[in-house]
């Protein structure tokens, strides 16, 4: 292997994602590159709104693949995630084919012979035709590969994790009546988690573990730049600086990247040219989602704006 290859390949991932409007840090790009190379799922953890789901979307768009999303929730089971038999269709077909069956079985002389013949037809009703594929099976059946996003895995039950293990390590599932279904092209699997509960070690072992935290100031500025093109440079710097100050407070829910982008859009809509106390006070509810948080931040606004402006001058 050439010396420069991996680093240039990682840069290619970075620019590829950037073209889709997703500004990735070096770590994220390395994770995406590695998951491609050694065919492992990525488990993405981090606070809400830092772009975990966006990452999957960006990868799918960049590679031109379909994205299949499985939203996890409590009580999700294999009938909803993997496959289900089309009971109604099976019943309907047996009714319609009643006569036909009678004909076929009519030739049999004894009960035993009829049973043997019936055995040959029995499998007809448990064939692929009658399987309703759910997201996980769909993902395996995509001929061109796909991006499988298993969103908020921490919301599902512990049993569901075990169900995923076979898919994550071997890209196959076993359906008792049909046998093992292997992936045509191994999908790129992204799992996201908000760390509401600790995931099992077996699941973690099968994944690359990527933690996305709040981005650095520079990176966040670039994200705002790519998402909200209409914003001026000074305002961008000021608002990102302000948000970084806010994150140093002890709040119930810290504003994350999605809030930053929303706020940038709001500021553009209000045609603000720079931050001042008035406009921040009016729009603080875009950033902070709890009344208690807003109250805690209120008295600090002026100092934070000043700080953000100062870092702007020197930075």
């Amino acid at each position: 292997m050439a010396e420069q290859k991996p680093s240039t390949a990682i840069e290619a991932v970075e620019s590829g994602l950037a073209a889709q409007g997703y500004i990735a840090s070096r770590q994220i790009a390395t994770a995406v590159y590695l998951s491609q190379q050694i065919e492992k799922p990525i488990l993405v953890e981090g606070p809400a709104g830092v772009g975990k789901t966006e990452l999957a979307k960006a990868i799918a768009a960049w590679r031109g693949m379909k994205m299949i999303r499985l939203q996890c929730y409590e009580g999700l089971d294999e009938a909803k995630a993997l496959y289900e038999w089309k009971y109604a269709k099976q019943l309907l077909y047996t009714q319609i084919l009643k006569d036909k069956l009678g004909e076929v079985l009519g030739g049999a002389q004894t009960l035993h012979a009829a049973l043997d013949q019936l055995h040959d037809f029995g499998d007809v009703f448990f064939s692929k035709e009658f399987v309703e594929p759910r997201p996980l099976l769909q993902a395996l059946e995509q001929p061109g590969g796909c991006v499988l996003l298993i969103d908020e895995i921490d919301k599902s039950d512990a049993e569901f994790e075990s169900l995923l293990l076979e898919i994550l390590s071997d890209f196959q599932v076993t359906i008792p009546e049909l046998g093992t279904v292997s992936a045509i092209t191994p999908p790129t699997v992204i799992l996201t988690s908000n760390s509401e509960r600790d995931l099992g070690d077996a699941l973690k072992r099968r994944c690359l573990h990527l933690h996305i935290g709040f981005p650095e100031q520079r990176l966040e500025e670039r994200i705002v730049e790519s998402r909200v093109p209409g914003i001026s440079q000074t305002l961008r710097r000021q608002m990102v600086g302000f948000i970084h100050e806010i994150r140093s407070l002890d709040l119930k829910k810290l504003p994350s990247v999605s809030e930053t982008i929303d706020w940038a859009r709001v500021l553009v809509l209000l045609q603000a040219s720079e931050l001042d106390t008035e406009i921040v006070k009016d729009t603080l509810n875009v950033l902070l989602k709890y009344e208690a948080d807003i109250e805690a931040a209120q008295p600090q606004i002026t100092t934070f704006i000043a700080k953000a402006a100062r870092s702007n001058v020197f930075g």
């Binding site: 420069q4 290859k5 991996p6 680093s7 390395t30 590695l34 190379q37 050694i38 492992k40």
Partner: protein, 458 residues
């Protein structure tokens, strides 16, 4: 380099990151993809494949930085530009003659270590130290007291004995060269010492922590020193995590073979009651409900502190905890503990009820008056205290009523069994109404006690 990565896995285990063989295979595959040329990429790669949580990432990142910062062998001796060529010419014949081992001049009989030191080749020295460290199995180092022995082992493996002989000879024949060699040897010793210290930091951390935790686990909670309180808190968090992992598993167990007739009929109503789908009986297990009464009078306060910390970090396992603190009277402290950090909460509790002389009787009266409704047949009541009621009325009758209303009544006493019943201890009288009475003076006993309580619900 492959060898290095394997050593790094050992170091990672030392840093508390669990690296299973399968994970190390994955990591090797990933490393094979990215190569060794770029250190930041290598770091990211190892962090992605080995670490499985944010804490592990931090620990592993530190471990990586430490591991790949090789201590450079220091060579402080100023080296004149004119001396270098002369030395090279010195060396060339000597190394050639070393193979012959003939009777040349004493200089030519120098051992390989001496030659290397005199040649001032930093890279060669570093490589020699690394390979000698491997030969001395430095990665087996466990305690800081082993530093000396490992240093000398490494030096021996490098050929110190030969160097000493060389030095003795040189002192007689060529004092100037001997002086240089001696200085170089000092520098080497220092480099080896650094290597060993680094090895200790890398490989021995787990062992040292285990040892310290072991001591801490068996130390009496009531007499713990102030500087150890933070460590103890960390230990309690560990215990809580272990209990969570053990007991937060699913609590429904199917009882195969017992048909649940009512649910089967209901489920098959659509088919006219023909049982297509069967439903089996399930045994539902409750999550523990706990009511904790903690004595916070002077002698027991510290133990209560740790106990409350443990109970309140078991959210996944325990459904419902209500905590009460008392010394001369009793208040509910659940909200304080939920809302504040452990230190602040404990300070507030202490300022409200702490440090009084304990009066079990009136505290039990307080409890019966206001909180008796908190008890259900699923509740386990835990009383933590030394049952020393200063010769006041113990009101054991209230404890009997509490015991009758609840699933179990567990008394944890920080005092040793021998002291029960002596002086003003009312323990024997209370003990008749308790399901279990056990001593609870150390973290280990605390863990066992809580573990047993939770296990009765499984």
């Amino acid at each position: 380099m492959r060898e290095n990565i394997h050593r790094f896995f050992r170091a990672a285990r030392g840093a508390g990151v669990h690296v299973s063989p399968a994970e190390s295979i994955d990591a090797m595959r990933a490393v094979a993809q990215v190569g060794f040329s770029d250190r930041t990429i290598l770091r990211d790669t190892l962090l992605l494949t080995l670490a499985k949580s944010q804490d592990e990432k931090l620990a592993l990142g530190d471990c990586f930085d430490l591991f790949f910062s090789q201590p450079e062998p220091r060579q402080e001796q100023p080296e004149g530009a004119d001396e270098d060529p002369s030395q090279d010419t010195d060396q060339a014949p000597s190394s050639a003659a070393a193979g012959d081992a003939g009777g040349g001049s004493p200089q030519e009989e120098l051992g390989p270590l001496a030659q290397m030191l005199l040649s001032q080749d930093r890279n060669a020295t570093a490589a020699a130290i690394a390979s000698a460290a491997g030969a001395a199995s430095l990665s087996d180092i466990r305690y800081s007291t082993q530093r000396g022995i490992f240093s000398s082992r490494i030096l021996d493996a490098m050929g110190l004995q030969r160097l000493r002989d060389d030095l003795d000879q040189l002192t007689a024949t060529n004092p100037a060269l001997a002086e240089r060699l001696r200085a170089a040897l000092d520098a080497l010793r220092e480099a080896v010492r650094d290597t060993v210290s680094q090895g200790l930091a890398l490989y021995a951390r787990e062992e040292a922590e285990n040892l310290r935790n072991d001591i801490l686990r068996n130390a009496p909670l009531a007499r713990i020193e102030r500087r150890q309180v933070a460590e103890m808190r960390a230990l309690i968090h560990q215990i809580a995590r272990r209990l969570r992992e053990r007991y937060s598993k699913p609590r429904k167990r199917q009882r195969r073979g017992h048909l649940d007739v009512r649910r089967t009929l209901r489920r098959n109503a659509a088919w006219g009651g023909v049982p297509f789908l069967t439903a089996w009986k399930r045994k539902h297990r409750d999550r523990p409900k706990i009511v904790a009464l903690c004595d916070v009078s002077g002698s027991v306060a510290q133990v209560s502190d740790f106990f409350l910390l443990l109970i309140h970090s078991l959210h996944e396992v325990v459904d419902d905890v209500r905590s009460f603190a008392f010394s001369s009277h009793l208040i509910e402290v659940s909200d304080i503990l939920e809302a504040k950090s452990p230190e602040e909460a404990m300070a507030e509790i202490m300022s409200k009820v702490g440090f009084g002389s304990s009066d079990y009787g009136s505290s039990l009266v307080d409890f019966e008056k206001d909180f008796m409704s908190a008890l259900t047949p699923q509740t386990t009541v835990i009383v933590l205290g030394d049952a020393r009621s200063n010769n006041l009325d113990p009101r054991a009758d209230i404890l009997r009523r509490i015991s009758e209303r609840s699933k179990r009544l567990v008394w944890l006493n920080p005092e040793g069994r021998l002291a029960w019943g002596f002086g003003d201890s009312e323990m024997p009288r209370y003990a008749t109404f308790c399901s279990v009475v056990r001593q609870c003076a150390t973290a280990q006993q605390l863990e066992r006690a809580v573990s047993d309580i939770v296990a009765t619900y499984q």
